[in-house]
Amino acid sequence: MSSVATLPLPAGAGARPRSAASLLPWVVLAVLAAFPLIAPAFGLEYYIGFVRRLLIVMIAATSLNFILGYGGMVALGHAGFVGVGAYTVVAMVEAGVGSAWAAWGMAIVISAVFAAAIGAVSLRARGVYFLMITLAFAQMLYYLAVSLRTYGGDDGYGIYTPLSLGGLDGLHADIFYWVVLALAALVFAFSSRVAVSRFGHALMGIRDNETRMAAMGYPVYRIKLVAFTGAGAVAGLAGALLASHNNFVSPSLMHWTESATLLVMVAIGGMGKRWGGPLGVAIWLTLAEVLKLYTEYWHWPIGLMLILVVFFAPKGVATLFERKEKTQ
């Protein structure tokens, strides 16, 4: 029996034209890497933490974009996996584990297990029913967290002793920032690579015509479940990093409104676009941060921006910058 992995890649899949624009990601990465060193000179120390949070949410958005944009799975419960990752860190801390790597690794594994179980049930439904089931599961996780008194229940759980990064701890005060940046770059590069792989093409084929892909011999359910589980695992990593970033975890992290916000961020950036997730997060969180300086009613201008995006870039802001990318 053939499997997806044994079939040949379409010719040209993954090939990208080389141009000056292809250097842009490296320039952005270099600027981000230099930011903690430059920021103090301009009195921007506060924004080191802000950018770190931005990068963590970008990881979550990239994972959602993978199933939403490439897989056509409109999930309204992605924050549930972020929460599972965060609460796994809490459980590890409570159990006396002090290593960040162990806690984050376990967060990835546990989130993947939750995603596989939830996906196994919810992927049997489609469209709005799939959306409702993922929402229901996420809310179940939310109320489960509220009921966990050992982990603070509704009040949340404070992590008073920051997790250790092992030998990296003594290198620099902002070492956690660079670790987050490296992980975000890794997740983004991996997600981009998978998107142009045979698996990514099969996923996009399923998004475009599920019946046709099944009739061509592709195990549609299995492919979607693998994608959903992978995305859940990455969202769990984002949750674990968020727990370390805030040194605090509360059930609000996995409330359905958080899932909806992630969804809107990806939609603003561009669903199924390589830069869609990071761009949407950067726009949303930066605007919110700036607008909060001027008004507590910052949702209003963001709402206006949403309307403008719908009218002028209905497929996301990323489409304004892209050349024709036929594989997406």
């Binding site: 053939s2 079939l7 475009d208 015509n209 019946t211 099944a214 009739a215 011999g217 195990p219």
Partner: protein, 238 residues
């Protein structure tokens, strides 16, 4: 020449919810044979095909392909056994080029001799070679139909099913599709065809099945169908 049955249906019953469409179909398709399913609209042709490819679960009866029961199998598993369909409406992918369509699904799953390579497919449809770089939605209706057939052939199917392959095409393009089907028959491709151009089908196919309200009303050879024009008016509305 004696052919073995590649696909056999016994007592096949299927439908949608409480509405039953097929009532105990019995038929075989032999290796190397071209069989047609004929009948007016709503007689059960598409439902039969849907059931054969796993898109609809049979309520009763048995379908065997290459000796293996497939009536409970999923669509993708049936496809991997070697059943390929050219669907009604072509359904080409708008974001893949012609060439990518023909490479993305290419496989010789059943180790057939004389596998369909890209060059052989281009030989069958020279027009597709000219349009190799065009996206699936940058083709005419006829080219899309050729692409849908070539895409199905790229999986090297043991059974090729064509559902209304010439519907909505200009006569000149239709002739090109018929020419292609003639060529496929010449190389021994087992094919099940659903189409309404009976006068062409009697020239192409070996045997025919006429469906009437979900039951087999008549079955016979091309010579028999061609000689009994009463069947055409009674069952096919021609």
């Amino acid at each position: 020449m004696k052919h073995e049955a590649l696909l056999s249906c016994r007592g096949l019953e299927a439908g949608y919810g409480a509405s039953q469409v097929l009532f105990g179909l019995d038929f075989d398709i032999h290796a190397g044979e071209v069989l047609t399913l004929l009948g007016r609209n709503g007689m059960g042709k598409s439902t039969t095909i849907k059931t054969l490819i796993g898109g609809l679960r049979a309520k009763k009866g048995e379908i065997r392909f290459g000796g293996k029961p497939i009536h409970g199998a999923r669509a993708d598993a049936i496809a991997r056994l070697g059943v390929a369909i050219v669907p009604e409406g072509r359904q080409c992918f708008p974001n893949l080029t012609v060439r990518e369509h023909l490479l993305a699904f290419a496989d010789n799953r059943n180790g057939l001799r004389d596998a369909w390579t890209l060059d052989r497919l281009y030989g069958l449809f020279p027009r597709l070679k000219e349009r190799a770089g065009n996206m699936g939605n940058q083709l005419s209706g006829g080219e899309q139909q050729m692409l849908a057939i070539a895409r199905a052939l790229s999986t090297n199917p043991r059974l090729l099913i064509l559902d209304e392959a010439t519907e909505g095409l200009a006569p000149v393009i239709r002739d090109e599709i018929w020419r292609c089907l003639d060529q496929l028959k010449a190389v021994g491709q087992t094919t099940l065809v659903v189409d309404k151009y009976v006068e062409k089908l009697v020239l192409l196919a070996d045997r025919h099945i006429i469906l009437e309200r979900g039951r087999i009303a008549w079955t016979g050879s091309s010579v028999e169908l061609d000689s009994d024009r009463g069947l055409w008016t009674r069952y096919l509305g021609v």
